[in-house]
């Protein structure tokens, strides 16, 4: 099953037969004090740097301008056209405020990915109509009013989301399930449970999957190394995309190596081209 996302001029496909889709996570004020202050002042200039740091490696960019002391709806309405001037990468519009998602979708030219809906009834009822109306795709977090650790419980949440999306005319290929990547430092079963959930979703629903990959390494040393290993095992279990640190070479390389090893980069053409480009860049 292929999920197709578009900007004005570029198409990206998320799917099991395609290279893994790297969604750059950087445009997000969480933990970035200076960026929070700028957003509160209505200043989006930082976005330009964030885009520049991700365009060489990311296939899509996530954009989150959420700060409770800022006008998130207004910022999202401004950020989307600005981003579409800066890059032709398709955008993942990320907010927990429905109005901000709506502002982003209205401003976006192309087919966006909406981040995100949960299996909670009121979220489904508020967000799915928007996704349908704008012909977008949506990420569904596999949690309801609790976050369950058991893969079967998460699968049920995923089924509920895909089914509810269908009620609004959103096809399964336009639903990307997030099986929930949690910190392994706080829950030893976090990753094994995640992997099992990915497998169940792949086998029983066949839809694409994504996750916030950096969550896994929260509170631990060697975050990029752990992130890279996580992405490799997740990819081999069937994960087809991730919202991740596109600025960390370890993580990006792990994913691109995985593409080659898992048969999604025939003859390693992309892998070799990447090596050649890096060599040329180093020489110049």
């Amino acid at each position: 099953m292929d999920t197709v996302l578009r900007s004005r001029s570029r198409t990206v496909v998320i799917g099991p037969e395609h290279p893994f889709c790297i969604i750059g996570e950087r445009i997000n004020p969480t933990g970035r004090k200076a960026f929070q202050g700028q957003l509160q002042a209505g200043d989006l200039s930082q976005v330009e740097t964030d885009v520049a740091q991700q365009v060489g490696t990311a296939d899509m960019l996530d954009v989150n301008v959420g700060d409770p002391l800022a006008d998130e709806v207004g910022l999202m309405a401004k950020a989307i056209p600005m981003l579409q001037e800066l890059t032709d990468l398709p955008i993942c519009i990320d907010s927990s405020i429905v109005e901000a998602l709506e502002a982003g979708l209205s401003a976006y030219e192309g087919k966006a990915l909406v981040n995100s809906v949960t299996a909670e009834d009121e979220r489904l009822e508020a967000i799915l109509p928007l996704v349908a109306r704008h012909g977008a795709a949506v990420i569904g977090l596999a949690n309801g009013d609790t976050i369950e650790i058991e893969p079967e419980a998460r699968l049920e949440m995923a089924k509920k989301i895909v089914s509810a999306a269908g009620d609004y005319g959103i096809k399964p290929e336009d639903v990307v399930i997030d099986p929930l990547a949690m910190p392994v430092g706080a829950e030893p079963r976090a990753v094994t449970s995640f992997l099992e959930t990915v497998r169940l979703i792949r086998e029983q629903l066949g839809v694409n999957t994504t996750c916030g990959a950096s969550n896994t390494s929260f509170g631990l040393p060697g975050r990029h190394t752990l992130g890279a290993a996580f992405l490799s095992v997740a990819q081999s279990h069937g994960l087809t995309s991730a919202i991740m640190d596109a600025r960390a070479p370890e993580c990006v390389d792990a994913v691109r190596a995985g593409d080659f090893l898992l048969g999604r980069d025939e003859w390693g053409a992309r892998w070799i081209a990447k090596y050649r480009a890096e060599k040329a860049a180093a020489a110049s």
Binding site: P29, T30, G31, K33, Q36, G66, D67, P68, L69, E72, S96, I97, N143, G144, D145, T146, I147, M182, P183, G185, A186, E187, F218, G219, L220, P221
Partner: protein, 221 residues
């Protein structure tokens, strides 16, 4: 083993999260008439304080903090009834919950376990806790502190709603309000009128103790 050796053993094993050894040493201490309060205040609490200090310095990481706090909890399970008999007061009491509309609990649970490890009595209300529920539980338990956790920018405004509910019930001044969660900042905590904010579990415990200390010294008992 001398009492000194038992206390040193409790400190050392708690520090590295060896739960079975800590439990054995507590039982050994009790069999040997070692004062439960001494074990708590001269070994276990200082050990967890050192864990917190190392975490804040970046020398310790989340799993190490968790297993140390769990080892400490194992000891407390044995000691708590005995401490209650002697009339020893907890370091403080804390009512904690994730705000309404929010189901994230990893960070909250980390703070809870560190608070318990530091000798606090914690009433955990779980996730998706409505303002009325916070009010009711604060009235029931009369804690030193009530803590609100939020992981989403959309649910952070519930801090203010909760504080308003406490004001409306006439108990805002009876309790210290602390807030936290990944997207929360000091600035936001100040804006909603919270008394304290901490960025991680260890700092939260230190701040909780400070705030209680300040409140107790400000109000003569």
């Amino acid at each position: 083993m001398t009492h000194e050796e038992i206390l040193q053993g409790l400190y050392d094993h708690t520090l590295v999260g060896h739960a079975p050894e800590v439990k054995d040493l507590v039982n050994q201490g009790l069999a040997d008439n070692l004062d439960p309060e001494k074990m708590l205040y001269d070994a276990l609490i200082p050990s967890l304080e050192e864990v917190g200090a190392r975490f804040e310095r970046g020398d310790f990481f989340v799993p190490e903090m968790l297993i140390a706090a769990r080892a400490m909890q194992g000891a407390l399970d044995i000691l708590r009834p005995l401490l209650a008999e002697t009339g020893a007061k907890p370091v403080g009491t804390y009512v904690m919950g994730t705000v309404k509309g929010d189901v994230h609990d990893i960070g909250k649970n980390l703070v809870n376990i560190m608070l318990e490890g530091a000798g606090f009595t914690v009433y955990d209300l779980g996730v998706n806790v409505a303002p009325e529920k916070f009010v009711e539980q604060v009235q029931e338990h009369e804690p030193d502190i009530v803590g609100f956790s939020a992981f989403l920018t959309t649910t952070m405004p519930m801090f203010k709603a909760n504080i308003n509910a406490l004001e409306k019930a006439g108990i805002r001044d009876h309790v210290i309000v602390m807030v936290g969660g990944a997207p929360v900042t000091q600035e936001y905590a100040d804006a909603v009128g919270a008394d304290g904010y901490a960025a991680d579990a260890s700092t939260a415990v230190r701040l909780a103790k400070d705030l209680i200390e300040r409140k107790r010294s400000a109000v003569p008992a």
